[in-house]
Amino acid sequence: MGKSTMTTGTLRRPPPRPAAPGGAGSGARPRYRRNRPGIAYLFLSPWVVGALLLTVGPMLASLYLSFTDYDLFTSPQWVGLENYQRLFADDARFLASAKVTAMYVLISVPLKLAAALAVAMLLNRKRRGQGFYRSAFYAPSLLGTGVAIALVWRAMFTDAGVVDSVTGTFGWDTGGWINEPDYALYVLIILAVWQFGAPMVIFLAGLKQIPTELYDAAAVDGSGTWRTFRSVTLPMLSPIILFNLVLETIHAFQAFTPAFIVSGGRGGPSNSTLFYTLYLYERGFSQFRMGYASAMAWILLLVIAIITALFFGTSRRWVFYSGEDR
């Protein structure tokens, strides 16, 4: 576990406390509780109900609904593959939303992880204030998902807003990024990258687990900073990179709030911020095309599943596991 040496280990074990006596059963032969599945399912019962009624059941139901026409008020009409066909064949807004979301994921996730790793490397020194800095960098990750910060972004990137007036002094008058189809998505990307604190904290914890002997050995071998980073830090950190990559990618695909707030719920200008989830919401909950929206949800699930499988499938080639830890 290796964390115990750090002074900041909030999650360390408290000292063992004597257990209160059980009363009734004492004196009797120990019962082999781990072999009594009834009790286990008792503990698990809320989870079982939730899993069946709120996860598995709805998943199957939405798969079924994706092959139907359903408006919530009349019963679903089976239409076969029509929803899927229409999505790919003649729904320009769907294709636009898929493209916008792909762009958003492809640009924001690598930038966010790069920023997270860079700042984690910078912070990874035994110096005073490290804990304070770490928390401060983490703060945007907590605030950034809310509506308030999205409103700030909207105001800062509007015409004659803060960003516009700064770029204006350099002779670049954009008329407000949120009004420009070419720039509007970058407003959201910047907001995503701004929240690099969460993966950074995970990177930082990973960096601390790299044995210092490796760095000593690299130094003895005359390895420079860059070489050490490539040959020691990156391989040792690769499991964490995989973890962050998977998590952030899944997360980015489902982004909703910033696009909804910045574009006023419409995904404009000219669909440039029409996130996939925004369009799904529009179809499902503005137009009550629930079958259509279910088809979109299943496509999203499949895309996320395929990409996650690709990450894990290729991980053998680029993720380095140092023996006993796993």
């Binding site: 576990m1 900041t8 909030t10 999650l11 408290p14 406390r17 257990a19 209160a20 059980g22 009797a28 019962r31 509780r33 009790i39 286990a40 503990f43 698990l44 109900v49 939730g50 899993a51 709805p58 998943m59 139901a61 919530l72 110096r127 204030g129 304070f132 960098f137 907590l142 605030l143 809310g146 509506v147 308030a148 910060i149 409103l151 700030v152 105001a155 800062m156 004659a160 807003g161 803060v162 007036s165 700064v166 701004w194 904290v201 995970i202 914890a205 973890f243 998977v246 899944i250 489902q254 909703f256 709030t257 909804f260 006023g264 989830t277 799904l280 499902g284 949800a297 699930l301 996320i304």
Partner: protein, 298 residues
């Protein structure tokens, strides 16, 4: 800000070597660089706080954080709320949803985590694998049937759809976090309790639960903040302004008012992030460690 770089660890003159001056310079440079990055990073938050007390007409383009005059009228307007509903109503609604979610997650996730971590039953492996998979499941795949169920039960528009799922341990992330934590507790404690005659229920109550406290605190804080910030499911399920939470009220603000109401809107935004900021300041260590630990032990 600059006072932070003054508090460097200084060596006593006796131990100072020729390289010490260089090292000290590098330390100062390190602090300066980090503070510069942080200042840029936290500028939007400072801008929000400053804007909330600026007169509306100087909000947009001004880079400066200092207002020409204070405008407390932003806050009075914000407190009046919107659509005839005071801001405290929205605040109370947000609190109900967030506290309900916290209670639900604490109870249901701890029970499930204990079963997964300590009890033996036939389907344990597959069911736990399933839990891990649902962490990756996009909410949208279950959203529409869930909505249909709640609609049939006439619960759309109430807080039930937002709280009930938490009572049923659907936040797999926290189940996972607690399972990892319980697995780290020494099993000898369970065995001792068993010898003393404790069954699983008493062992959970008197051994696991007290030791689980750090993970419970982490879960509580994260659940609170994430629910507080949540927008999507509240947008889907709440349809009457009387039941609106703060994020929905803020969105109502954009829809119903023009740019002239920027001041009050940002005042209300500040009110909406105050609890998050307070939680963050009070529990930052739990938050940061919670993220790091759950990420690492995966």
């Amino acid at each position: 800000m600059s006072t932070l770089s003054d508090g460097l660890p200084t060596r006593t003159p006796a131990t100072r070597r020729p390289g010490a001056a260089g090292a000290r310079l590098r330390t100062v440079g390190w602090h300066a660089l980090i503070i510069a990055v942080l200042a840029l990073l936290l500028y939007p938050v400072a801008w929000l706080l400053a804007t909330s007390i600026k007169p509306t007409d100087e909000i947009l383009s001004s880079l400066s954080l200092l207002p020409s005059r204070l405008a407390p009228e932003n806050y009075t307007a914000a407190l009046d709320g919107i659509a005839g509903i005071g801001v405290w109503q929205f605040f109370a609604n947000s609190v109900i949803v967030a506290v309900g979610a916290v209670i639900g997650n604490l109870g249901s996730c701890a029970l499930a985590a204990y079963a997964f971590a300590r009890l033996r039953f036939r389907l344990r492996g597959p069911l736990f694998a399933f839990t891990l998979l649902t962490i990756m499941l996009p909410y949208h795949v279950v959203l529409i049937p869930q909505y249909t169920i709640f609609q049939k039960l006439d619960l759309v528009g109430t807080f039930v759809p937002l709280i009930l799922p938490k009572l049923l341990a659907t936040d797999a992330f926290f189940v996972f976090l607690m399972v990892q934590f319980i697995r780290g507790l020494p099993r000898e404690l369970d065995d001792a309790a068993e010898i003393d005659g404790c069954g699983p229920v008493l062992t959970f109550r008197y051994v696991i639960l007290p030791l689980l406290k750090p993970a419970l605190v982490t879960t509580a804080i994260f659940t609170f903040i994430w629910t507080w910030n949540d927008f999507f499911s509240q947008l889907v399920y709440l349809n009457d302004p009387e039941t609106y939470t703060l994020p929905l009220a803020l969105r109502l603000f954009i829809d119903q008012t023009s740019e002239s109401a920027f001041g009050p809107m940002f005042a209300m935004s500040v009110l909406s992030i105050v609890p998050v900021l307070l939680f963050f300041l009070a529990f930052q260590r739990y938050l940061v460690e919670g993220i790091a630990t759950s990420g690492l032990k995966g």
